[in-house]
């Protein structure tokens, strides 16, 4: 297969990334539509299902090695402080303690750009002070309490608005605004657009900090063999963990092997290499034993990321006919103590047609745990604000909210001035509106009477999720006719094993049970992108298809040699090569391999380049019906309809999993989840799963998932776009609009908890 190396650009989480990638030189030919498929597009059950229901599945958390030592971390009790002295001698003498590391006995290893693995300048409650390895976790925990640390307390700030002020305590030398200035964007002439508008609405929205809280805590197990290090890590990005660990330890990347086994969720918090992994490696090196480090639930809520909060001031101007004439977005958000991103204006810039747009966004340092990408970073917050204000504009224009969106449908990407490979948002509106019964929606907000008041609302969504090269997959055909797929991607629970196997099973026409998938090992699998940004399925499945198609060719060629007929007279069908004329001439996969006297045949498939001159996005609309208990302020989400354009749906079951889970996280963000910090001390108050409230089984509404798209043939052979993030983006906005429709009071602040609703209702009278 001819290949070439290209420069490829893709958007992941918060930024455009440019990479060099080896891709098939001839591009890719689209696979047939799902109607013609036997395995792709079908609700195939998970390959890993029985492993997981039976408890056989082993996660990083479960790894046990002989002589394993256990590490625990001492964290800053102060929001802002400097360590003036540290004395670990007494702790080191405690029973079972094997080693202790801190800033005085470890080289300065750069971290967060301007800080270090152990930085005596502590910038949030939870910042790492020291790490202890001991025979047991309990012994390590006990030792933490005996490390004597003297702190010089510094003034702190845990509120972004306060942190932006001139005299605020400086968290970093360059000041508290990340990058020293806002991110700005403009097109057209905002003031001119404002001048020609008939309706102008200006509103301010706020969103809270949300914490990922995957069920499996962050954890690593590390083991040295000479100069080679093996790291088992619960991660969404094995290659970036490898590179960061290698760089931190001054090792060639080839000497670090990162293995990810089954993993209990991530949602973005496990995209970034943890300090704990490097600390464990340092300790393991010193004590000459493997080390396991796990965070507890409190640390999960302090130190491994969150969705930054936001204050967003939006102005939207429209003409009488409903045409948007100008939009502006001014916002700031707290990224925590170290660099992250709080920007959230992307949806406003792109999803609706508007010639005059300006945005200005500040990412602000505060003395709190640093942010990290969290399922559609920026977009969830931004979409809530945008879709809320658009409903208010529509009301002023006396237009149906859906009609208003249709009127402003964008046909091209207005930021990059590129056409979309596909955009079926209008189809999503139609399908979603029909499924929820949009015509039932009361035109007058708050028109429902009685204790329980119902309302309907909706919101639109845009995301990237096109996938990207480089992504490679090795396909091994074994002598027994079984197939092994090997790739350097990782299944973080989304179903990657299964969708990859489906593609190979479809093309090779063999039962899916004969396919095994090995992922998550940097020493074995060819490079694939991290599993975030809804990248995995659209990046990896085309590589599988490429490998399988090559294998088919290889089998045809082999059979031609064995049968001594021209290859052109042979066809491949259901795991067999047959002669088109003489039906007696046929060879099964097993027969071909037996005759070749080889154990295996190998192919390597690669993801194609994305098409030039197009923007690739996914789209969707979600419709929510809610019921507000006006006596308690409790909001019950009755139903959510999710109608989306996500290219080809590869597996209906795993796709529904992603939608159900994303919508429920959206409900959590809209209605209950919130990290709360004590302003007096800077300590996080919501450090367990009681105080940090995540949705339970009682909160799950009826959900209907409608896919309005077929394969996007311009993207790749498989033509899938990612679904993980699109599933969550519009949910809070749809719920906010439904609540407004139900009670006639607009809530500008997430989460829309009962206290806020009750007080809003009281003010309404």
């Amino acid at each position: 297969m001819a290949r070439k190396i290209i420069k490829s650009k893709y958007f992941v989480e918060e930024d455009f990334v440019e990479v060099l990638a080896e891709v098939p030189a001839g591009g890719s030919s689209p696979l047939p539509t799902n109607q013609e498929m036997k395995v792709i597009g079908r609700p195939v059950t998970r390959l890993d299902g029985y492993d997981k229901v039976s408890g056989t599945a082993r996660y990083t958390f479960d790894i046990n090695l002989p002589h394993l030592a256990h590490a625990r971390t001492l964290r800053s009790p102060y929001a802002h402080a400097r360590i003036t002295a540290i004395d670990a001698r007494e702790a080191a003498k405690m029973p079972g303690v094997l080693g202790i590391i801190h800033y005085q006995n470890v080289d300065q290893i750069p971290w967060y750009g301007s800080s270090f693995l152990f930085d005596p300048h502590l910038r949030y409650v939870g910042d790492e002070v020291a790490c202890v390895a001991a025979e047991t976790e309990a012994a390590a925990s006990a030792a933490l309490k005996r490390i004597k640390v003297e702190y010089e307390e510094l003034p702190f700030v845990v509120d972004a608005a306060a942190a932006m002020k001139q005299n605020a305590p400086a968290i970093h030398e360059g000041g508290n605004i990340q990058g020293g200035k806002p991110a700005v964007y403009a097109r057209g002439d905002f003031d001119a657009g404002l001048a020609e508008a008939d309706v102008v609405v200006e509103e301010t929205f706020t969103t809270q900090v949300e914490v990922h809280n995957p069920t499996e805590v962050h954890c690593s197990v590390v083991n040295w063999e000479g100069d080679r290090l093996t790291v088992w890590d619960s991660t969404q990005a094995i290659f970036s963990v490898r590179d960061t660990v290698a760089q931190s330890l001054g090792l060639p990347a080839s000497q670090v092997r990162v293995i990810k086994r089954y993993m209990g969720g991530g949602f973005g918090s496990k995209l970034t290499t943890g300090k704990y992994t490097v600390m464990a490696a340092l300790l393991a090196q010193r004590i000459g034993r493997p080390v396991r480090i796990t965070l507890d639930r409190e640390e999960m809520n302090l130190a491994v990321g969150n969705r930054p909060d936001s204050v967003q001031k939006l102005t939207v101007a429209a003409k009488k006919d409903g045409t948007l004439s100008a939009m502006s977005h001014w916002s700031y958000g707290a990224v925590g103590a170290y660099p992250s991103g709080a920007a959230c204006s992307w949806p406003l810039r792109t999803i609706y047609q508007c010639p005059n747009v300006k945005t200005e966004e500040y990412s602000v340092f505060i003395n709190a745990g640093p942010g990290r990408p969290f399922r559609a970073p920026g977009h969830v917050q931004g979409t809530f604000a945008l879709e809320s204000i658009l409903d208010d504009v529509a009301e002023k224009l006396a237009m149906d909210p859906l009609e208003f969106r249709r009127k402003n449908h964008a046909t091209i990407d207005q930021v990059m001035n590129l056409p979309y490979t596909s955009k079926k948002l209008l189809e999503a509106y139609d399908a979603g509106a029909k499924a929820i019964g949009w015509d039932r929606r009361r035109k007058v907000p708050g028109a429902d009477k009685g204790r329980y008041q119902r309302g309907l609302g909706f919101a639109s969504q845009i995301w990237w999720g096109a996938g990207t090269p480089p992504a490679g997959c090795i396909l091994k055909l074994n002598r027994d006719g079984s197939v092994r797929l090997i790739a350097g991607t990782q299944d973080i629970g989304t179903g990657t094993y299964t969708v990859m196997a489906q593609v190979a099973a479809e093309i090779l026409e063999i039962p899916i049970e004969r396919i095994q998938v090995n992922l998550g090992d940097t020493a074995v699998g060819p490079y694939c992108p991290l599993s975030g940004g809804s990248l995995t399925t659209p990046s990896v499945t085309p590589a599988v298809a490429d490998a399988a198609l090559q294998m088919k060719e290889k089998l045809l060629s082999a059979a031609a040699a064995i049968l001594e007929v021209p290859q052109g007279e042979l066809v491949y069908q259901r795991g067999e090569v047959r002669h088109t004329g003489d039906t007696s001439k046929k060879k099964t996969i097993v027969e071909i391999l037996r005759e070749m006297r080889e154990q295996t045949l190998l192919t390597y498939g690669a993801r194609n380049a994305n098409p030039e001159g197009y923007a690739i996005n996914s789209f969707g609309a979600q419709f929510a019906e809610v019921e507000v208990d006006t006596l308690t302020g409790h909001v019950k989400v009755i139903k959510v309809v999710a109608a989306h354009d996500i290219g080809r749906a590869v597996n209906r079951l795993t796709l529904e999993n992603q939608f159900h889970g994303g919508i429920l996280q959206g409900i959590g963000f809209a209605l209950m989840e919130e990290r709360v910090i004590d302003p007096q001390t800077g300590k996080v108050l919501t450090v367990n799963l009681h105080d940090y409230k995540m949705p339970t089984i009682m909160d799950m509404p009826e959900i209907e998932v409608i896919i309005v798209s077929e394969a996007d043939t311009k993207i790749s052979n498989v033509g899938a776009k990612g679904v993980g993030e699109p599933a969550m983006i519009p949910t809070p906005g749809a719920i906010a609009n439904a609540i407004y429709n139900a009670i006639g009071v607009r809530l500008h602040s997430l989460p829309m908890t009962p206290d806020k609703i009750l007080m809003a209702l009281a003010q309404k009278g």
């Binding site: 609700p43 059950t45 998970r46 890993d48 299902g49 029985y50 492993d51 997981k52 229901v53 039976s54 408890g55 056989t56 599945a57 082993r58 996660y59 958390f61 479960d62 046990n64 309990a138 809280n213 995957p214 069920t215 499996e216 805590v217 089954y262 993993m263 209990g264 969720g265 949602f267 507890d296 639930r297 973080i492 629970g493 989304t494 179903g495 079951l653 795993t654 529904e656 999993n657 939608f659 159900h660 889970g661 994303g662 919508i663 429920l664 996280q665 367990n688 799963l689 009681h690 995540m694 339970t696 089984i697 009682m698 799950m700 959900i703």
Partner: protein
Amino acid sequence: MEGTFRINGRHELLEFSERATLLQVLRDNGHQEVKEGCAEGQCGSCLVLLDGRLVNSCQVFAAAAVNREITTVQGLGTIHAPHAIQEALVEVGAVQCGFCTPGMVMAAYYLLRHHPDPSEKEIRRALDGNLCRCTGYTKIIEGIRLAARRMRQA
């Protein structure tokens, strides 16, 4: 300390500290099918049956479980001989990352033993102490209904 536990029908003589929870003792002795999500009784990942009662094993001292009958998810069914609940959860697609799944299976088993024909509301109430961050629960409910139907017919 030392004590005998009857785990999934087999007697096991185990050593443990007086502070150890049942969860820690199970996991330290190869029963890693019992998961730990919070260690504070707030997530349900560590559910086991203790003398037939559903408990958070992180909320029970091992010392209090000595000489008692403990059933983990592997005591209900294995990968080779899965229980009807386990089969149904796989079939309907109720498993995503799978970390909460053993706890879910235990809660479902406990429910169906007492209520072979639960309503959807009863299923929700029975699983309201089990957190799942991935699936959105819908298919878990569906799987339990399917299992209940099959178990009644069996």
